[in-house]
């Protein structure tokens, strides 16, 4: 038998039928549904009178439109948001599907709660009407984002017709230096591959560095895969994976666990398998990364400088850079360190997990945010929030001047109450620095939670490594007044 990659194995094990043109009909094991991409799918099911093929393979949760300041009476103030969230709950009742409401202890962002519940498992196919479904690839699951029409198709048929992707291996070796995290690696990879470079590929993250990453860090890495244009980011399941999922509500127990484990251990890429493309990255050389533009691949190390459109050889590249700088209100060739910010956001499906909050709190402990800054921390789930509170992290954030909120997508996507005003600049741990992503006219710099915490303290984009050297609060950077 031919040597296979992890992706090949996941593809083959879910192939319901193969078509002459090489496309395949894939069986979908699990679907997460949220309030934004599911209403039209359920409306379609209702009007066509179709039945849900496998009701117990779906899980519903509202996250995008949820206010992170929970109303005391449980009633969402924004009428449209309230109706949208209610519609999801109503659909769960009508179609008899599992649903976690806003006040449920298991509530949170789809890509945080899937793994928390053990809904996400190695070896499965998992889809969601959300591009960051790549997150679940961290468990060795074939997980990808789809549109609302495809959500409906999965409800009705449990299958999707797909084109098989090519294999791209991103191999990372070496240890992170202090102040460098999975987010920096993810941003550096997106910068290397480019915003569309991953199209047509399933990316597998390999190498000793990746093996050493925790599940939280692996999820951050896989989460950002879509920002390189690829819908699938994968990491082979290993003992770290199994230790994370063992004993969770939806994972197998007893003898079934042992059988599953045997199967999961057969999933990693065969030693002689070939990838169509390979990229090598040395983690030791990585510095903290910051985006400067309006696409996640417009990224530089914290010690770097913004590009100069006049120095570009290609006119198209020059225009692209000039446009991004103009939107961001930045000067060509300026240092990225020192750019003044108005807002800090720590959270999202990229960086809203317990480790992310710990990393930010480690920077903030004993320090206070700059007067000019408004700072928000939003745990990715109710469980992350409880865990953080049990560790006293909420106190660290609150004493530093942060607002401590309830779980939701929050400021990652400007469709709930958390939005930036035009022209406001945000140091953000989310995944997209698109124009208007955090509010019309708002400016986003993507970075790690530790870097966002450092920016909060100084009021400027700051090399977190200077704050991690045990200096007293506020003296980590020369511009702190």
């Amino acid at each position: 038998m031919n040597a296979q990659t992890l992706y090949d194995k996941l593809w083959k094990s879910h192939l319901v039928r193969e078509y002459a043109d090489g496309a395949g009909l894939l069986y979908i094991d699990r679907q997460l549904l949220h309030e934004v991409s599911s209403p039209q799918a359920f409306a379609g099911m209702r009007s066509s009178g179709r039945e849900i093929r496998r009701p117990n393979s779906h899980l519903l949760v509202a996250d995008h439109a949820i206010p992170t300041r929970r109303p005391s009476d449980g009633r969402i103030p924004n009428e449209q948001a309230r109706a949208q969230v209610q519609l999801l709950a109503d659909n769960a009742i009508e179609f008899e599907l599992a649903h976690f409401g806003m006040s449920d202890a298991r509530h949170g962002i789809v890509h945080v709660i899937g793994p928390e519940q053990g809904f996400t498992q190695p070896g499965i196919t998992l889809v969601c009407g959300d591009s960051h479904t790549t997150t679940h690839g961290a468990f060795g699951a074939l997980a990808f984002g789809i549109g609302a029409s495809e959500c409906e198709r999965v409800l009705a048929t449990q299958t999707l017709r797909q084109t098989r992707a090519r294999n791209l291996r991103v191999c990372v070796e070496g240890a992170f230096t202090s102040g460098v995290f999975a987010k920096d690696l993810a941003l550096a990879i997106v910068g290397t591959i480019g915003a569309s470079g991953g199209q047509g590929y399933a990316i597998e993250y390999c190498g000793e560095t990746v093996r050493q990453l925790s599940m939280e860090a692996r999820m951050t890495l896989c989460n950002m895969t879509i920002e390189a244009g690829s819908r699938v980011g994968l990491i082979a399941p290993d003992d770290t994976t199994f230790a994370y999922i063992e004993g969770r509500p939806n994972t197998p127990h007893g003898a079934a666990w042992e059988r599953a484990l045997d199967y999961w251990r057969s999933l990693p890429t065969d030693a002689t398998a070939r990838y169509e493309q390979e990229i090598y990255i040395s983690a030791e050389l990585l510095e903290p990364q910051v985006t400067w533009g309006t696409s996640p691949d417009q990224v530089v190390p914290i010690t770097g400088y913004l590009p100069d459109p006049s120095l570009q050889e290609c006119e198209m590249a020059s225009k692209k850079i000039a446009r991004a700088l103009a939107y961001m209100g930045l000067e060509p060739a300026a240092a990225v360190e020192g750019i003044a910010i108005d807002q800090v956001f720590i959270g999202s499906c990229t960086n809203g997990r317990i480790e992310d909050l710990r990393a930010a709190a480690a920077v903030l402990r004993g320090r206070h945010i700059a007067d000019s800054v408004q700072a928000l921390v939003v745990p990715g789930s109710a469980q992350v929030k409880r865990n953080a509170e049990s560790e006293g992290l909420d106190r660290v954030f609150i004493e530093a001047g942060f607002e401590w909120r309830h779980a939701g997508c929050s400021l990652c996507v400007a469709m709930n109450d958390d939005r930036l005003a035009p022209g406001k600049r945000c140091a953000s741990t989310s995944n997209r620095n698109f124009e208007g992503r955090q509010g019309a006219g708002a400016r986003t710099h993507l970075m790690s939670p530790a870097m966002a915490a450092a920016a909060a303290v100084t009021g400027r984009i700051t090399d977190v490594r200077t704050l991690l050297q045990g200096r007293p609060a506020g003296q980590g950077a020369p511009w702190k007044s």
Binding site: R17, E96, G147, E152, Q199, A256, A260
Partner: protein, 208 residues
């Protein structure tokens, strides 16, 4: 889905690379749960100023491009969020064909599910089409003949796979087709999977 065989229009040029689905359909309008009537929100921040007045500097606000059915875009058009509101809004605006060197993959699939033809061309071809659009020269996207036909009769092939072409040409409802053609295959798969990976059936979610 409405059939799509041929579209003829003066195309509109949106040359910027990486026009993401947040630009095509800004997030705050995602609170709308309908899929019809979204055209008014398409490219909202580009089309309208802060007071809601149409901006003259946006191509789709200007004659003759305000009637375009074909968009000539920049690289990686429709990247980012999976929101199907983006193609719904484009369709409502009258767009039936988008042309680029590459598309966000989820956006491309969403277009095909909504009667919009995505055409991938080479960089040099794209440059020529942008020029045509700027000069208001008509373009035909002929899916039957599998070609974009320019004003001077030159043709650029449409390389869409057969099954996707057929779905557009016939206006197929993909779910209906799947229910008719695939059910037996799916049942066989489930029987096999239940035998070999029973834990996937014993640890499901539950409606409470």
């Amino acid at each position: 889905m409405e059939k799509l065989t041929q579209v003829t229009s003066i195309p509109a040029s949106l040359p910027d690379a990486n026009i993401d689905t947040d630009i095509i359909f800004p997030a705050r309008f995602l609170l709308i749960t309908e899929k019809r009537g979204l055209g008014r929100y398409a490219f909202y921040e580009k089309r309208f100023d802060a007071d809601g007045a149409a901006r003259d500097d946006f191509v789709l606000n200007r004659e003759p491009w305000n009637k375009s059915s074909i968009l000539i875009t920049g690289d990686n058009f429709g990247c980012g969020s999976s929101r199907e509101q983006a193609p719904w809004a484009l369709y409502d605006l009258g767009i039936r064909c988008v042309v680029s060197t590459s598309f966000g993959e989820i956006f491309e699939a969403n277009c095909l599910n909504n009667g919009i033809l995505p055409v991938m061309v080479k960089q040099v071809e794209l440059a020529a089409l942008h020029e045509d659009a700027g000069c208001a020269r008509e373009l035909t996207a002929d899916l039957v003949a599998r070609a974009l036909v320019r004003h001077d009769g030159t043709r650029i092939p449409i390389g869409l796979p057969e099954w996707q072409s057929q779905a557009l040409l016939n206006g197929w409802d993909e779910i209906d087709r799947a229910l008719k053609e695939d059910c037996e295959h799916t049942e066989r798969f489930e029987i096999f999977q239940r035998e070999t990976m029973s834990w996937l059936y014993d640890n499901e979610t539950r409606h409470t």
